[in-house]
Amino acid sequence: MTQRETDTRSGTEVEPSRAPDPVRGGDRARSVERLARLFDRPWPSIIAAFVVSLGIGLLLVVLAGGTAAEAVDVAYRSTVGSQQGMIDSLVYTTPRLLVAVGVIVALRSGQFNLGAEGQLQVGAIGAALGGAFLAPSIPGPLALPVSLLLAMVFGALWAGLAAVLKVWRGCDELITTLLLNFIAIYLVQLMVQGAMKDPSSTFNQSKRVIAVAELPRFGFTRLHYGIVIAVACVVLVWFLLDRTALGLRLRSVGYNPVASRYQQLRVGRLTVAAMLISGAVCALAGAGETLGVQFRLIQGFSSGFGFEGLAIAFLASLRPGRALVIALIFGGIFSTATRLQQELGVTASLAYVVEGLPIVLLACAAGAQALRAQRKGIA
């Protein structure tokens, strides 16, 4: 620890000319490194955390007037126990998984991207722009790719803004991305009330996305190919981070920006690159909702799954493969909560409690372990 601290201090002296140091405040860099310790959470502890929190969820259902057996029955039917349950779970999984994978790119590269919510909102704007406005005037087969691409570009630029501000002005991206979330939400409002509003609609929403720009669906179910895109992103992000030179550089910036500079990595550029990729992937979550669920840009389409995606990323120890598993669990939790509300009248907010608890428990366990390791090391 002490060693690292001197590194940080002397690190800023290496290039005194570069005043707006992108890694200024060795604090954040070091806290990313601590996050790295979360990588090592073994499966048993993750399972234990979920068991505890599902248990508490069950207890809450009982306190809210349901019974444990009913709750378990509902949970079974709304996840693996019925076709509809599986489909719903997967539909809910899709945006959350995309956000999780997107923020993993940023977090592993040392960027605290808390702006997934904003990035998916502007992604939805991009998708609607493509699917409802541009698509009618371009060849059919291009409609969907163009819509998705537009969404990714919008999301990338939105996240890139935070990265540029960090490199140029030294603004901590954590706060920048948080603020950009709210601005993006109002931007969607601005769009559906003004420029993109469907004049014939009695609500604030855009025109419907044309049929060729829709994400195709599996058979006659409501499950759209967004889940395929999400899984593809899992693989691509894993490949990028673990199997490519760029990924290695990104991770080394995340792990230790100062050392990276010694190795003559262009930290500023890598920072921007990480955020661009992260924003593009997060934006796909918004595009999926727009092109596969709502078929139009609509105010309030996201019930805050930006933060749920972050939670998944943390629980998954920032590993894309694990994120897939955790996102499936979260999809199941959300599906269960929705059905619990329908059948037992238990507020769907239950999902937030059940999703939030394991994160806190695991973070505590990881912190305690790090402390123990440190003390042992000193002794």
């Binding site: 707006p20 603020l179 709210f182 973070a363 505590c364």
Partner: protein, 308 residues
């Protein structure tokens, strides 16, 4: 634009600043001690719920306010257990904590108040004109015809400055945030100080939530009442460079940006879309953040658990 010099505009700005300032004062101390509380959003929300719940049980808003502060203190301590004693990552815990509080307050509201909350009259916390001072032209209307909570802030803010920069307590807090390891080596009990700071932070955030629900919203609690104000508090604390005085000034500016919505809509309404005015406080915060970004120097151990 003569509206901008009107006393009521600035009086509104100050009234709107009160909850943000209350929470930001606590957060300033927490960050000075090295604890970055993303969960301030959740702490405020739990305070808001606590205030409405206790007020409707006890039939007294003052008791409700105290209940909120107590709830905030307890949750702040629990939060402290996670990030200070267990050395959990502060950002991760914050994200989880906010989710939990959002869900829990909503469930508790339905569970404990199936027929709705009956919050008594909040007049005790409404505006009370101060004698003599309130008679001053303009200044009296702006500063001295406010809620008692605002008057408390007139005392709390300078006290915060004094405590942070002129006392041994403040010195310890700053030392812990600027070099936890060194402080620890020098015999300062870092976890203990951080725990106390988290209790204070929780108390003030709880009080901020109570102000929001009892004063600003007149006792009507709705789910997710805080709605992002906690994140504004975080931004404010940081671009105000962890100085209670700057924090107060920034809070009033936010309040003014919020209060401007009415005047701006009345003046430009119909020509400029409403959403532009609604995002104004966040745009302002972002602008301030960009301007202040380079110059501010964070406590060097901000966000870092003490591993020793």
């Amino acid at each position: 634009m003569h509206n901008l010099v009107e006393s009521f505009f600035w009086a509104s700005a100050i009234a709107l600043a009160a909850p943000i300032l209350l929470a930001a004062l606590g957060e300033t101390f927490a960050q000075r001690a090295g604890v970055f509380t993303i969960g301030i959003e959740g702490l405020m929300l739990s305070g808001a719920f606590g205030a409405a719940a206790v007020a409707s049980w006890s039939g007294d808003v003052i008791v409700g306010f105290a209940g909120a502060a107590l709830a905030g203190a307890v949750l702040g301590a629990l939060y402290g257990v996670a990030v200070v004693l267990f050395r959990a990552d502060q950002v991760v815990v914050g994200i989880g904590f906010n989710l939990i509080v959002l869900g829990a307050t909503s469930m508790l509201r339905r569970g404990l108040f199936p027929t709705g909350m009956e919050v008594p009259s909040t007049s005790a916390l409404d505006r009370h004109e101060l004698p003599l001072l309130g008679d001053l032209p303009w200044i009296g209307e702006v500063l001295f015809d406010q809620s008692p909570i605002v008057y408390a802030l007139y005392v709390l803010t300078p006290f915060g400055v004094f405590l942070l920069f002129r006392t041994r307590v403040g010195l310890l807090v700053r030392a812990v945030g600027d070099g936890a390891l060194a402080s620890s080596a020098a015999g300062i009990r870092v976890p203990r100080i951080r725990m106390w700071v988290m209790v204070v932070n929780g108390t003030l955030a709880g009080a901020a939530g109570a102000t929001l629900v009892l004063v600003n919203a007149g006792g009507v609690f709705v789910d997710n009442l805080v709605d992002g104000r906690g994140y504004l508090v975080l931004a404010l604390t940081m671009f105000a460079r962890w100085h209670p005085g700057w924090v107060a000034l920034g809070a009033v500016l936010f309040g003014a940006a919020d209060a401007l919505q009415f005047i701006a809509q009345a003046t430009f309404g119909g020509h400029v879309p409403t959403a532009v005015f609604l995002m104004a406080p966040y745009l302002l915060a972002l602008a301030a953040w960009v301007v202040m970004g380079k110059r501010s120097r964070a406590p060097s151990d901000l966000g870092v658990p003490l591993l020793a």
